[in-house]
Symmetry: C2
Subunit: 391 residues, 2 copies
């Protein structure tokens, strides 16, 4: 069905657009999740009807243009969970991109094809989107470096929105040096030379994950602690990771419904059952529930402002476990998704930057360690990742 | 996309299975809605994933076998709204069967292809299903004779269920004589010679429909009154047609969700947005609401037992208006569906038999007049229809 062995690219959407000849990324290749506009090609959003029912863009998305101007060459558009509503990377129309780092497991989503393409070595980097974990989760499951940038730090022009108060553009790489180079181009400035001087370990997050995951991440956490020096244990979410998850699961689907309602009510597209079920969850959220969730968002923001002054980095597991098996029954998928959400909700709620780095292997399955910093301190995280890779 | 000009048949599902040589229906042809099993062919249910994700039947459905044994020959399987969840006859996967009697209008559903095939003269009769109006509505919109039989009177083996407490197998014809012949085969006995001796006119139903529809049906109603003699005006639903509609809209989607939940949670099929939205409505109904609806069902049954002693026929408009335009925006479709439901709800709630006969034309658009009788009096309605055709 796809043009590549990995099933990472949208059928018919492999091509080449050369980057600037003399840019800092010249010689690198990249792929773009099919939520990003590429001039003259349909933006499919992981759904055949979406591609047919919406106009073909006439300009590149900001992020695509940014990487082309930086010298990287675009080689194709990658499969995504339908309109970015999914966390496992299984698309009933386009299939499941192969996670070469964890055979027989899902790649994670919704930036599934971008992660799978980078993990398989089909390109050097790839852009994705992260609203509720859609870069962080596949980075963890595929053993990659991946970033959810500070919310609002980068223009989202030409990127299909989902929940604008939480949407971000992120990217994947296989190594920390490339990650830092791409990040510098995206943010338009150099990563700082100095490392942060304080590390917070999110004890509630380590307590929340499966014991095997917490144990496996311990050596990498110890290396990080040794490198940074000043280490303190704190709760990330005193109100409860599950409470933050609930707030995010209230605000995000509600916004997603607002985003996609005009399309689905106009064109009545075919979508996977579980995607519509998610949209309907959003449609059913009351003003009272949304009001509560907005207050909890304020508390979460205050908590991260308190925990993360400049110069501080926070470490936590990216996901509660490595990649789950493919094709779980929907009730099992829901349980997996809810658990993942508890570890990802702070991103959409607070907008702080987060990178996931290859943290450990559990029986051959990768799982990521995440680093958070204050809003705007994205490049400091790239510096930490690169230093840690060789520490 | 389909094998016929009308778009009535499922692509690849036109064929011929000869009926018994010496049956009462020998020489007639029929089609079967793609909810009925035909041995060796997938039962598609109007959804490509349903066809793929379920076993191919090894035996004919009871209704198919019954007509074959009666001498009619099967010529193909017809398009249905997805898993019978729809009343307009628009299927995003298979298109909208052409309503030759009302160009540019919907054929009505969910037995859309069966009605369209008969209306276009592609076959003499066709079987459909009626849970909430799926034979009655397309019969009205396509200017056909169509029946929703007494609930429970005919075996439903090999028919894809939707809401078993309301599911029935019905059929369409273009003329009253063929309608009576097919009905006699289905019920296995002759229609009575004597006409009913009392007519009830459902004044609330005539008051509910669009004035132009009520006016247009008046001449046929007057003929019926003249033929029967004893005429009385009564309310069909003293509690409110909209209250009966609400009860049906509570019980039916809840049962439909129970029916389809195992499939959609196992296989996560692609479905039209509005179909899943309907399923999710069913999933969201509380026990308290369902309890109330069951009590109202009891009141509706008592009302029709009171109104319809043997020998009585009740007349009402089948639909509030002729066929609406195709491709209405979903909010407009919902408004149309809700209005139709108010005139159809008594079928699922009470189980009484109902036939829709060609009642009038409004600017070239057919609209049906419906006749109801006591449970088990189905063939008396065939007798009325045939007598009225030549009265």
């Amino acid at each position: 069905m796809t043009d590549d062995d990995i099933g990472a690219f949208v059928p018919g959407q492999t091509f080449r657009i050369d980057g600037a000849a003399d840019g800092p990324l010249s010689g690198l290749t990249f792929a773009a999740k099919d939520l990003f506009d590429v001039a003259g090609r349909p933006t499919g959003g992981g759904n055949p009807d979406f591609a047919r029912q919406n106009p073909v863009p006439t300009a590149h998305a900001w992020a695509v243009q940014r990487l082309l101007d930086g010298g990287a060459s675009l080689i194709g558009k990658t499969i995504t969970d339908e309109v970015s509503l999914g966390i496992l990377g299984e698309n009933v129309f386009f299939g499941t991109p192969r996670n070469t780092q964890a055979p027989d497991r899902v790649p994670g989503g919704s930036s599934s094809g971008s992660a799978a393409a980078v993990a398989a070595g089909l390109c050097d980097t790839a852009i994705g989107t992260d609203t509720g974990g859609s870069v962080r989760v596949p980075a963890s499951f595929c053993g990659l470096y991946g970033i959810r940038p500070t919310h609002g730090a980068l223009p989202l022009d030409g990127m299909l929105p989902q929940a604008p108060s939480a949407d971000t553009t992120g990217w994947f790489t296989r190594d920390a040096a490339t990650f830092r180079r791409v990040s510098e181009v995206m943010f338009g400035k150099a990563a700082p030379a100095a490392l942060p001087n304080r590390l917070i370990v999110a004890v509630d997050a380590f307590g929340f994950v499966e014991p095997a995951t917490a144990d496996a991440l311990r050596p990498m956490l110890d290396r990080l602690a040794a490198m940074i020096g000043d280490v303190r244990e704190e709760m990330l979410a005193p109100q409860g990771l599950s409470v933050w998850g609930r707030a995010q699961r209230t605000l995000q689907p509600r916004e997603a419904w607002e985003t996609f309602k005009p399309w689905v009510e106009r064109d009545n597209p075919a979508l996977a059952f579980n995607v519509v079920r998610g949209l309907m969850l959003g449609a059913s959220i009351t003003d009272a529930d949304a009001g509560w969730a907005s207050l909890m968002r304020r508390e979460a923001r205050a908590r991260l402002d308190y925990l993360l002054p400049p110069g501080t980095v926070l470490a936590m597991p990216t996901t509660p476990f490595p990649a789950p098996p493919k094709e779980l029954p929907l009730p099992d998928q829901n349980a997996v998704r809810e658990a993942i959400l508890c570890l990802c909700a702070h991103g959409g709620l607070t907008g702080v930057p987060q990178i996931s780095i290859p943290g450990a292997n559990i029986g051959g399955l990768p799982v990521g360690l995440s680093l958070l910093a204050a809003r705007g301190e994205d490049l400091a995280l790239a510096t930490v990742a690169e230093a840690l890779e060789t520490y």
